[in-house]
Symmetry: C2
DNA sequence: CGAACCCTTGACAGAAATCAACTAAGGTGG
DNA sequence: CCACCTTAGTTGATTTCTGTCAAGGGTTCG
């Protein structure tokens, strides 16, 4: 595995406080791989063999049932995914595929479980990471159950504007069909919702979004820290 | 705090492996309180002062936005809730109220955080509990996004039948309006969905549900371990 | 006995999905 | 370099699902 990313990994909340020797043991056994776009890395239901760390690119976590499919999350550098399945040694509840060319570090689950038994700091960091993940999923469920499709989109746009440094203009970080699935609607509905938001202070031109009337958009989305974050990844 | 429940608490997955002295320290500082029905114990947004353990009764975890409200979970003995907020020392994302007369053990969050730093076994148990909670919420989101209201109800009924020892007849463990909210629909929609399931192998008479045609109900619900459990609380 | 409250039912409205067609952009291969 | 093909996105027409509003029946509890 290429050494150059190790310091960056080391700085992640999950690994930053663990003992050096344990970190080395973990990464020694790890794989560093780069995948092309649209590669399915994980099938839901399989057993969790590796903890995944996204170094470059982006990963879609999704799930299927019958003929339907939905996106549960999009993971970007540098963070981990499927930590919970890894810790429980349980089947994945979500599938994963690359959205673009993506570089991953794969740490064998058994090593992770071994080390978190001996390294208290790592265990604490794991608790923090899992808590954040849990709370993120609670937020997602609240968003879905409390807001309409338009309201979810409006809130999402405000979130993204915030993440882009509160600029009025930004570029959507994923394809619209993926965003639609994440927001719990069809691509057609997203398209129409986006258009209808012109009356509420947001316009889209391709991937670029411009917030033309923030107060109006906020009036619709009613953003709340208890639904929309801030993402509190330590 | 009454001593009689201590052994039962001690046997919970979260506390079962920790050192005796730490368990005693935790419970020494804890409160044992019984609340009447329909008491709001927690307001979302408040800071997490206590880890809650349900000893008797049941607790509804819910969240509001604008004028709307939704139930995220119902907690029954003997398990804990709001562990994630407690661990992160972050604001609750959900409110909590008693559904019936309910007895709780309240452990000060600061004590929990102190002890999980010194007791590795407790930290491991916390990881297991948080992972289970995270996975439960992923399941809830999948249920909401992949299934229609009727399908969710059908799957829920099969789940409950399973929990009741795969008997064809069982009693709903909560009021229908709470169930409706948990399943992400209005009471009216639940009422209609329940009625319509007569054609798919389930009838309700008050709180009692009878599964008259399990294969038909399964054909509709398509139960999957990746959405419907089993609950894997260690 | 009356007053809430839960649940149900009916009529209706609104939201979102579906089906289908069409445009535009990007990539491929001749 | 251009024709072609694939795919993302949009738009329109329509259906389906679910929520809303309103009213009534049945219980429970004071």
């Amino acid at each position: 595995m290429r050494e150059t990313v190790l310091p960056a990994i080391r700085r992640l909340p999950l690994f930053r406080s663990m003992a050096e020797e344990n970190f080395l043991a973990l990464t020694r056994a790890a794989y560093d791989q780069t995948f092309p776009p649209q590669i399915q890395l994980i099938d839901e239901g399989e057993s969790a063999d590796f903890l995944h760390i996204v170094v470059e690119g982006s990963i879609e976590l999704f799930a299927g049932w019958q003929e339907r499919e939905t996106t549960l999350a999009v993971v970007r550098p540098r963070s981990t995914f499927i930590l919970a399945a890894c810790m429980r040694d349980a089947p994945y509840l979500m599938s994963a595929r690359t959205l673009e060319k993506t570089r991953l570090i794969l740490v064998p689950s058994s090593d992770v479980r071994t080390i978190f038994r001996t390294d208290g700091e790592f265990a604490l960091a794991t608790i923090a990471e899992l808590s954040a993940g849990y709370r993120g999923m609670v937020r997602h469920a609240k968003d879905l159950k409390l807001r309409s499709a338009r309201e979810r989109l409006a809130a999402y746009l405000l979130c993204q504007a915030g993440a882009a440094g509160d600029r009025a203009s930004f570029v959507l970080p994923m394809e619209k069909r993926v965003l639609a699935s994440f927001l719990g609607m069809t691509p057609e509905s997203l398209s129409r919702a986006m258009k209808s938001l012109q009356a509420d202070g947001a316009v889209a031109d391709g991937q670029r979004v411009i917030i033309t009337d923030r107060p109006a958009l906020e009036a619709l989305a009613q953003p709340s820290p208890l639904i929309d974050g801030p993402d509190e990844d330590v």
